[in-house]
């Protein structure tokens, strides 16, 4: 079909309001976007190649460095995949501690994603409030694991350190404080008329389109697809996990789904701390030969590791499928089309929470 294109607008890879190094070439008619094309490949690390031939204690740290924001889930999925290969069982206390670390990580990831969106729609006040809240989450993560970002908390057969009673109490009170703040900030976002003008009804990703583009994570859940890998995880099942979803399909829904998930993470952490079993945190176990595919729910969606290990537990082959690529594709082929101004292109792109560091690895 012949289309009349007024202008081609290239966005990125280097632009002050474009946070990820991708090039988005938009075809616009007037200011309405009628098509978009994506160029990736500006920051390939080749991390899967570096992982090959190494034992778990080295790959664990490399896996964390696939993504700087959601590092705990990469550690968790890799270690649980190795456990699945080797038939190692995790002590219940360690399984609960893993969930706590993972949920803290999810909270900080969602908060920085929402900060990014607020910053893009020029609501820096709320953005800075969210960053302040994220800082509190990071402090708790540091108290639990010893490091803020690359925590390296999980090892095959357990976790690296236990949580003491004082730390558990500190975490509980911090979580209460965070919940109050979060309620206020989520209220600011949902009630702000200016925010609604920039967010409601913009960047529509219908349920059919989301299914067609294989959108995952909060992007899919904001289009009414209540799909979450945590439903398949035994510890989350024990905690009675129910995924959050919204039917609105727009930028606003995506941000609100993240706010809801942060609140949900807080309640999961609280429940974990209440039900925390006593006992050991390391069961032992040696990694063995095998091949598996294991998925977990990263803050951005389904994260899958395909791993083949040799007889000494070294990684013979590894492939990582990260969630962002699905959402980036869904964003530039479905969400952006029909957006009425170029300013909304960046905010729509950011609302899908793209992470190019994961995507290109």
């Amino acid at each position: 079909m012949k289309r009349t294109v007024d202008v081609n607008i290239p966005l990125g890879p280097i632009h002050p309001c474009f946070k990820e190094p991708v090039r988005l070439k938009c075809e616009a008619k007037g200011e309405r976007i009628i098509g978009a094309e994506l160029e990736l490949g500006y920051m390939k690390k080749g991390i899967e190649r570096i992982m090959k031939g190494r034992p778990w204690q080295e790959v664990m740290f490399l896996a964390e460095r696939v993504c700087g924001i959601c590092s705990v889930i990469h550690n968790m999925v890799f270690i649980e995949a190795m456990e699945q290969i080797s038939g190692i069982s995790v002590p219940p206390r360690a399984a609960y501690l893993r969930v706590i670390a993972n949920e803290l990580d999810r909270m900080q990831s969602h908060l920085i994603a929402n900060f990014s969106y607020c910053y893009t729609i020029e609501h820096e006040t709320l953005g800075m409030y969210l960053l302040d809240l994220r800082e509190q989450v990071m402090d708790e993560l540091e108290r639990l694991t010893g490091a803020r970002v690359t925590c390296a908390y999980m090892i095959p057969g357990g976790v690296r350190c236990d949580i003491s009673r004082e730390d558990a109490e500190h975490l509980l009170s911090a979580v209460d404080r965070m919940e109050q703040d979060l309620r206020r900030y989520a209220g600011m976002f949902s009630d702000g008329p200016m925010i609604a003008l920039r967010s409601r009804g913009i960047g529509i990703l219908t349920q059919e389109a989301a299914q067609r583009a294989h959108a995952v994570g909060p992007t899919a859940r904001a289009s009414g697809i209540a799909l979450d890998c945590r439903l398949n995880h035994p510890t989350y099942r024990k905690l009675g996990f129910v995924p959050v979803s919204r039917p609105d399909c727009d930028n606003f829904a995506r941000i609100m789904v993240r706010f809801d998930e942060v609140a949900q993470s807080i309640s999961i952490i609280r429940k974990c701390l209440q039900d925390l079993p006593t006992g050991i945190i390391r069961g032992g176990g040696v990694c063995k030969e095998g091949e598996t595919r294991y998925s977990g729910e990263a803050p951005r969606g389904e994260l899958t590791y395909f791993i083949r290990s040799d007889e000494y537990g070294r990684i013979a082959d590894i492939q990582i499928q990260t969630p962002s690529i699905m959402n980036i594709e869904a964003c530039c082929h479905e969400m952006i089309i029909g957006v009425d101004s170029v300013a909304d292109v960046t905010s729509t792109f950011i609302s899908a929470d793209p992470c190019v560091a994961c995507t290109e690895r």
Binding site: E142, A147, D162, S164
Partner: protein
Amino acid sequence: MGQSLIWYLKEFSRLEWIHKFLFAKTAPLVTPSYSRGFPEPTGKACQHALFCMMACPAPGAIEVVHAGDGWIPRIHKGHCIRCGLCVEACPNGVLKSGRILETMERDGTSLLFSFRISIDPDLCTGCGNCATACPVNKQIDAQLGAGGHFSNDEVIMRVLDGDVRVLHEEKCTGCKTCETSCPTRAIQIARILEGIQQPSQGSGP
């Protein structure tokens, strides 16, 4: 519009906000005691077990060097990723980082090492560099022949009929000298690490 004004008035008349506005104070930038920093010596004598070097995931971050009469682990800060595995791997508590050492002692956690030698027969040329370079072999048989030919069966590996044979895998200390001396990267040391816990009575929260 009116709604937003009311909202803003409400927001700014909160006691917490007024308190923050009047007594704003940035928290001092201090590293908390529980933060995993660069490993530091605790003062205990290094027994030259080399497990810190074997566990370290960052290339060239730690090496155990001669200092006076004994040995000390030296950290290269530009390479260290502050993971704290060396602290956990050391059987003698020579290093400390954050509160890893205290929690290890409290919970009775430790890392267990074992080393396996794997030789790719397709790549191995039977040159015997590995057997000659191995420091354990040198200790066992000081009369080592060039090309890895030994008359001693107590060594870890030696060249037999043109191929390198591993005789005593259990004697391997995992130093990787053979790996670095192999011209075809045929020999690889698998460092198998296992996290274990033996809680003492009365420990744990």
